[in-house]
């Protein structure tokens, strides 16, 4: 088996397993895994910026929120159907990432983190400020009639699972293709040594901006899908916590691995789900996980596996 076949076989097998979940999983877990797949799509986008290009952003909630509200507000106030609203959400995420990137990418490292954090905070406050449209913290509940895609009711379990799967599968395939393409190689080169890639003739600013916009498109798609699939568009989904969560999932699963975001989001979701049986301290789980990860496993689950055993893992 050649390397390329092996890589594609592994990723298609993961997708096949997720697809099998649509018939094998009981209803409760089906809803959970659908949610995890949407959030993992968000984390895959985060991984393209952070894991592959080395851009540690603390403001991705702004892009997720742009998709969420871009789709949600159009459905709610303009009566747009779910399909075009989804597209609008994706574009809103990309456009927001381009706007933020144009300014924020003039800075580096810690300054980049704080600038993105501040932009996201300004976006969150803007949502709260325009309560008349967004209904602030309380949020908008999208009616069932508005959540129809190609004649399928997205509020029902099976169509929702399949829609989340389609989103995740598309994201995964594009990402796998991207990171193994020449463009992806340049992204990794920028992460490893920006000066050397500049010397080789690549424009770091333009390349980083492109990576951030792709990342924003993913975040926007995940945000729009989240609103349409689960019927809720609220300010808490655009708060700082939603910038931290994809960072946590990517760190846990393995930064710079294609499947890492899925592994991270899935394990974190079920860790909190199971721990909620005997403690309500979910914030503690998140906090302790972050501290332990940076201290003892900075490469995450798949990063460690790649380092020890599977050197070929993309």
């Amino acid at each position: 088996m050649t390397l390329s076949t092996r890589i594609w076989a592994l990723h298609l097998a993961v997708l096949a397993a997720l697809l099998a979940g649509s018939v094998l999983l009981p209803a409760y877990h089906q809803t959970n895994v659908a949610k995890v797949m949407v959030l993992a799509t968000y984390a895959m986008g985060y991984n393209i910026a952070f894991g592959y290009t080395g851009l540690l952003s603390l403001g991705h909630a702004l892009f997720f929120g742009a998709g969420l509200y871009g789709a949600g507000l159009l459905v709610q106030h303009a009566g747009l159907p779910a399909g075009p609203a989804l597209l609008a959400g994706i574009l809103a995420g990309g456009a927001m990432a381009a706007a933020v990137g144009l300014l924020a990418l003039r800075t580096q490292g810690v300054a980049f983190m704080i600038v993105t954090l501040m932009f996201a905070q300004a976006g969150y406050l803007t949502i709260l400020y325009n309560t008349a449209w967004t209904r602030g913290e309380e949020g908008i509940v999208i009616a069932r009639e508005a959540r129809m895609l190609f004649g399928h009711d997205l509020s029902a379990d099976l169509p929702r699972y399949l829609a989340a799967f389609a989103l995740f599968a598309a994201g995964l395939v594009v990402k796998l293709w991207l990171v193994r393409s020449p463009t992806g190689r340049v992204m990794i080169a920028l992460r490893e040594n920006e000066e050397r890639s500049r010397m080789l003739g690549y424009d770091p600013y333009a390349r980083k901006l492109a990576a951030l916009v792709i990342s924003g498109l993913y975040a926007g798609a995940a945000g729009a899908a989240y609103g349409l699939l689960f019927g809720y568009v609220g300010a808490s989904l655009a708060s700082t916590q939603y910038s931290i969560l994809p960072l946590l999932w990517v760190l846990l699963g393995g930064a710079g691995t294609v499947l890492g975001p899925l592994v991270g989001a899935l394990s974190m979701f079920y860790l909190i789900d199971y721990s909620s049986a005997f403690t309500t301290a979910s914030l503690l789980v998140v906090g302790v996980a972050l501290v332990l990860l940076v201290l003892f496993a900075p490469r995450g689950i798949l990063g460690t596996i790649r380092e020890r055993w599977l050197k070929w893992l993309p």
């Binding site: 800075t107 490292g109 300054a111 704080i114 501040m118 932009f119 301290a281 503690l284 201290l295």
Partner: protein, 293 residues
């Protein structure tokens, strides 16, 4: 009330905000200046100061003034000890690598927030002020306690400045800031300096919180606003510049007081956060600083 006195009231409220903000921001600025650590958990040290002040006010019998005096001493020490512990157990082992420390302090933020929620609960609770008298101005009466807060903050800032500029401890801190390796070669225990600076930063945030808690109740989520405002102040003032930090605290506190009185507070915050992002993009050394972030 006519416009003039109304503006005066807004400015006086702004002074109180500035005073507390300056203390919290100087703590953040010291930690960044000397250790080069961006402490995202700084707001939670502030929150812990307020929450522990409530516990002290419950445990210490006698008049409120006694309990308050006890809180003023005990709470910064308690929070400082937690900060020193966090530095020794977590940050030191990360070798103060910038991105790893930010992720770790985000983790610390959630841990402290959850600890406060579990042991203190979700309610906002007041702490009685040590004294109650009103200063009667021709147009309105004003709380004497708030004026005392401004005075106390000014005294503490003066103390911090003296500590840094005139004392042997300050000399050691500045030497460590200037060149960590050379300081170590001269026999300075850099690990202990770092733990001490992190404790001092946390302690200053806690002290600010104890001062504000009779005016604003203690709550487990109260750390977010001071964190963002401190970041804003430290960035606008220039990271690691004490004078710049104090000037920026005055600027931000006073304008926050005026804008919040005459316009919506949320709008004031949006403008402030965007301003900071743009300052960082176009003038990374801050308005008064000399070094870039």
């Amino acid at each position: 009330m006519s416009f003039g006195p109304f503006l005066l009231l807004a400015l006086m409220e702004g002074m109180v905000t500035s005073a507390v903000l300056a203390l919290a921001a100087v703590g953040l600025s010291l930690v960044f200046g000397i250790m080069r650590v961006v402490n995202v958990a700084h707001g939670e040290f502030f929150m812990l100061g307020a929450v522990s002040a409530w516990f002290v006010s419950q445990w210490v019998p006698g008049p409120p003034a006694v309990a308050f005096a006890a809180a003023l001493i005990l709470c910064p020490l308690f929070v400082g000890a937690i900060a020193a512990l966090a530095d020794m157990v977590v940050l030191k082992r990360l070798n103060y690598e910038p991105e790893a420390t930010i992720v770790a302090t985000i983790g610390l933020l959630y841990i402290l927030q959850q600890a406060a929620l579990s042991f203190y609960g979700p309610d906002a609770r007041p702490v009685p002020a040590p004294f109650n008298f009103r200063v009667q101005l021709p147009w309105f009466g004003y709380s004497g306690y708030k004026i005392a807060v401004v005075a106390a903050s000014a005294l503490v800032l003066l103390g911090v400045w003296r500590l840094l500029a005139k004392s042997r401890v300050g000399l050691i801190m500045r030497a460590t800031q200037y060149d960590r390796e050379t300081a170590r070669a001269f026999g300075i225990n850099v690990d202990r300096v770092y733990a001490g600076v992190f404790a001092l930063g946390g302690g200053l945030a806690a002290l600010a919180a104890v001062l504000i808690v009779p005016i604003q109740q203690a709550h487990y989520l109260m750390g977010t606003d001071p964190l963002l405002l401190s970041f804003i102040v430290v960035i606008i003032g220039g990271l690691g510049s004490l004078r710049g930090t104090v000037i920026a605290a005055l600027l931000i506190g006073l304008s926050d007081g005026v804008i919040s009185t005459f316009f919506a507070p949320t709008l004031a915050k949006i403008v402030a956060t965007l301003l900071v992002a743009l300052v960082l993009v176009f003038r990374p050394q801050g308005l008064f600083g000399r070094r870039a972030l």
